[in-house]
Each structure stands twice: as structure tokens, then as C-alpha cells.
Point group: C2
Chain length 338, copies 2
């Protein structure tokens, strides 16, 4: 049933993603009366979709507990159930973030050895693409949570971003070893001796995010959320100032006209819709949360993120890394020391 734009955005997003990933098929959970006419508008989407009717929807302002208790027949819950039952390889939703995380955690459970799932996203930097987690699922994290985030982030960087030996940085309010709280200092100590294919860079600061200093940015959900939301706001501010400058005078407007393809390229580089789709990592199933306010273009990217995670065997690779860690190649008590 989608986010702010409802099922229209979902169906139009499927239409767009099928151009890039033509093999995908979809189970749509929601109100058949609303979905059927939408599908009629896109014949090839209709062929790729099967509707599972339900009239029950988790509202965007629903509390987590209420969603868990009362939402058993909701479109969100039924979609998660389908992943658990193996009918779907993954779920994509633009709905209520808290409810999606809580239900997915309850129904799918976490991967063996993972204590808490995290929200992750990849994003553009000056050096290429990086991945950051957690973005808000865990407001408080201990050292072991952060180490597990690092492992999952590195798996993503290796298998989805294609980096052989990803660098991992721990976000902190200063790069000196004595800075930060117990959790980041403990995680830093553990990450230095992790017997996995990742290169631990040490502490980084928030200006390193955009600089692309590391491939994997590890942080607690509070800090990650602050950084993410700040970025959203600053991106809009920059767009505002650029538009203002390029429309102020006739000469500016002429220049903007000549440079239009370049400005279009710039907009593409920084288009947040191309990085839409927060991954809930650490769950026993692929689960991707689209921004609630995105459009069809953005939603198509969230679908592609989920498809990518499935194709690359993301969860299997996480399990392999965790098994390697706990298999006796090293003493997990040392590695995972808080």
C-alpha cells in the first residue's frame, strides 16, 4: 500500500525497475480494488505481478506495539510472512519504518549470531560509493553491536559494491584513540583483531562520510540518524542556493541554459532517489525500506536494492563470515569482547 504516494508509486516503480531488471516478479499485498486498475495501466507490470488482497493497512503513525498486536492481516505483515514462507525472496515497503522493523524482526528473526538488526544505506562520496549503518534502528549500541554492524557492512561492500578488502571506520567525535564512549572504544579494540577480509581504518569524523575516507561507516542509530537527516537538509539547502544563483540575472539564466545537460548530470549525481532503499541487515530475510515520501523513480531503486541483495546472496555471505569468526580460527570471546 506504499508510503505517502500510496500504491500508485509502488506500481509505477515496478514499471520503471522492470526496464532495468526484466526478470523480476512481484507479489502485491493490499487492496485489490485499488491495485487492479493501476495494473491495468501497465500491461507488462500486470504480467509480472500477483495480487494478495487484504483490506488491512498499517498507518504511517501507528505505534510499533499496536502494529505487532493488531496488524496480523495487514499488507505489511502478510508481505513479511511471504518472505518467511519462502514465497518471496524479499520485501520492499514504503510504509511505517518502526512497524516494518518490529514486524520483520519478530517474524523473520535475526541471523544466527546477530544480536540486533541494523538499517544500512549506501551513498555517493568523493571517492565512490560507501555504506553506512546503523541509521536509526538502535539508538543505543554496545561494542558488540558495532562490531556486528562492521561485519555486515563489510559483506555488503565486498559483495554488492565489489570491493575486495573494504575499509571500515567507526564514527566518533574525534579521531584520537581516547575519544568517544565505551562502545566505540571497545568496538575499535575488537575490530583491530578481526580475522575477516576487512581493513579497519579506526575512528573517523562526520566530515569523512562525504569524503569517502572509508567504504563502511559504522555508528549507532542515534548518530547515524542525525548524520542522515542533516545530509537531507543540507542537500536541499544547496539545491535552493544553486537555483537562486542560476535564476537571479539574465546572464545566469543563459548560462544555466547552456549548461543544462551538465546541471542535469549534477542533479543525477546527488539525486537522493538513486540511493533510496534502506536495508534492514541482520534479518533472516531480505527487507528494504523505501523513503515514505519518494516517487516511482525512487521506489524503483529500493526494489533494485532488494533484488541486488537477493542476487548477491547477501545473507548467506554474512552467515559465512560469522561462521568463520566463530569457527575456532579465532577466539570469539576475544574478538567480541565488550
Amino acid at each position: 500500500m506504499g508510503g505517502d504516494g500510496g500504491p500508485d508509486v509502488v506500481v509505477a516503480g515496478i514499471n520503471l525497475v522492470l526496464d532495468r531488471l526484466p526478470g523480476l516478479t512481484f507479489l502485491l499485498f493490499g487492496d485489490e480494488q485499488r491495485l487492479r486498475p493501476l495494473l491495468d495501466g501497465f500491461p507488462h507490470v500486470k504480467k509480472a505481478c500477483r495480487i494478495h488482497h487484504t483490506g488491512d493497512v498499517i498507518k504511517s503513525d501507528a505505534k510499533m506495539a499496536a502494529a505487532l498486536r493488531g496488524g496480523r492481516k495487514s499488507s505489511m505483515r502478510l508481505a513479511i510472512d511471504a518472505v518467511r514462507a519462502g514465497e518471496a525472496a524479499g520485501i520492499v515497503s514504503a510504509g511505517n519504518t518502526g512497524a516494518l522493523m518490529a514486524m520483520a524482526k519478530m517474524v523473520l528473526k535475526t541471523l544466527p549470531g546477530i544480536h540486533r538488526p541494523a538499517m544500512a544505506t549506501y551513498f555517493p562520496t568523493i571517492r565512490g560509493e560507501s555504506v553506512m549503518l546503523d541509521l536509526g534502528a538502535n539508538v543505543e549500541c554496545d561494542a558488540e553491536n558495532l562490531v556486528q554492524f562492521a561485519i555486515m557492512g563489510a559483506v555488503f561492500a565486498r559483495n554488492v559494491l565489489g570491493l575486495e578488502l573494504p575499509t571500515v571506520g567507526l564514527l566518533n567525535v574525534g579521531v584520537e584513540g581516547f575519544k568517544g564512549n565505551e562502545a566505540v572504544r571497545g568496538a575499535s579494540a575488537s575490530l583491530q583483531k578481526l580475522p575477516l577480509p576487512l581493513s579497519f581504518h579506526g575512528f573517523i569524523e562526520c566530515d569523512d562520510i562525504g569524503a569517502g575516507t572509508v567504504d563502511v561507516v559504522v555508528t549507532d542509530g542515534f548518530t547515524g540518524n542525525i548524520a542522515l537527516k542533516t545530509t537531507e537538509g543540507i542537500a536541499k539547502l544547496f539545491g535552493f542556493f544553486l537555483r537562486k544563483a542560476l535564476t537571479e540575472t539574465p546572464r545566469a539564466r543563459l548560462g544555466a541554459l547552456v549548461a543544462r545537460p551538465a546541471l542535469q548530470a549534477f542533479r543525477t549525481y546527488v539525486d537522493p532517489r538513486r540511493y533510496n532503499g534502506a536495508m534492514f541487515v541482520g534479518l533472516n530475510g531480505i527487507c528494504v525500506k523505501s523513503h515514505g515520501g519518494t516517487d516511482a523513480f525512487g521506489f524503483s531503486y529500493a526494489i533494485a536494492v532488494a533484488a541486488n541483495l537477493v542476487t548477491r546472496g547477501f545473507n548467506e555471505k554474512i552467515k559465512e563470515d560469522l561462521e568463520r569468526l566463530y569457527s575456532g580460527e579465532s577466539d570469539p570471546k576475544v574478538v567480541m569482547a565488550k
Copy 2:
């Protein structure tokens, strides 16, 4: 003795600010052997300056405790002493932030009623200019600290930004009343009944910073530092992508040439040097910290910030607000309830 660029940046910065604020005079604390030849290069700067020689400097990597103990004859300490003695109306430094805050707090003391000084900066938004505090002086804050930050921020907004009834927002990881920790919830309760000329907006999120949703953004030093550093990194990332797009093709380069004045205007809008100069607010004296890596243009803005705070009687206005608060117009215990 300046920041990364040393006293050269300080003297060249004075040269620039004297064009805008010709009445200013300066006491320069540092190595006379280095300062004198620099002043010889700017005759009208030389006339406005008096050198207080000292060979002792607080290094940029010096620990706070060491600076407090061993730095009694340092250029930084002597400059703060001059403010305390009334020989200078304020201090501007591009040196070690931690040492400057610790020494300024020890020597100048906090304003009556203020428990902890904060670092503040004003910045551009879509709606105009806003002020944010704390930026990193206090990693952990209680409700009362946040309320005092709000009061000081509102004084700045009224007297320096010229807003009659500034709006104040508390940064949080969600705008719902039940979200956030005890400190922000307690501060929110107190701010709702504060008998001062400010309009409390409630909670805001980090994307509200750039949007200019409020005139005064109040937060703890950890969160403020995260937001500030993220902004620095994202600003660089956007500049990188814009340059890339505008140099990729001959047509892009031509458009950039035609739009050059507009692009220059854009750069000016988002130039962080124009917002250089973090104010240490709540101290019994004006103290401004310039970014250590800034140039003469940026340093001139830090000087202007200090001059502005002095001219507007910033500290006197804070005292007035605190007196009004504690004078019986309201019950301070209620207002300041944790």
C-alpha cells in the same frame, strides 16, 4: 599565533576586516619576531595593532590539562587574561579548541546563573540565518543546560540577527513528544513555559537545520558536532559533483563560463568562511574560536563575529534575560525543573 596558517592568516585577516569595521584596534599576543615583519607589510594594520610579545604557544595537539597547567605565559592565555583585565573587549583565536574553552572558562568564569558555556554558530538556511548551539563543548547535557542554551541562543537571535521573537527548536530523533532522552523531554517541558521573548517550536529533526524551520537550534554538544561535521563533508561533496558536472564536456564548460558570476554568487552563498567563528557563549567575556584551517578571509569573519557580540552587548543581554527569569516574574524552580 593563529591556527594551521599561523600569524600570517591573523594579520591578513585583520587587514580584511578593517575595511568593513575600520574602528577596531587589536592586541596581538605572540612572537614579536614573527609578527613585526608581517605588520610591516600592512601599514594601516600596524597602526591598529599593539604587540604583546610571548614566545610560548599552546600547540594544536596539546591536552587541555597540560595547557591549563603549563600554558600560563602562552599567547592564548595572555590574550584571555587581557579580556579578564578589561584591556580587550574580546578574544579571537584559531588555536586549540579544547585548550581555549578550558582556559577561557577558568579565567573568565561563566555568567551568573549559567552552568556551562556552549559553542554556537550562525549559519545560512533556506529562510535566512539561524543559530545553533552546542556544537561540541558539552558532550552530555541535562535539561537545564539545554534550557540555558535556548536562552542564550534566543538572545543572539534577537540582538545580532535582529529577530523580535525568535523561534527555538530542540533537536531530536523524531518530532513526536514521546521521543528522545530525558534531557530533551525535560527541556521541552521547561521551554514551553519560559517567560522570555522567544517562541518555543518544540522538537525538530536534523533536516530542519538547513530548512530554517527555527531561528535557534538547541542541542547537546555530541549531536551538534555530528551535525556540523556532516554538513562540512556534504558541502565539499556537493562542490565536488558540481565542479565535475561543469567541466565534463565542452558545452558544460561554456555554460559555466557564461554562468560564472552566478556560480560565484552560489559559492558565496555557501562559503563556510563567511560563517567562520564559533562563539563560546555563557562566559564572562567575549570569546570566538576561528576554524584552525581557515584563511585570511575566514579569519576576518571570526573577528567580525567577536566585534558584533561586543557592539550588541551580547553578554549584558544574556544577564538581563537570566535576571528576568529569576526575578520572581516566574518561579525559577518550575522553569528550570530538570
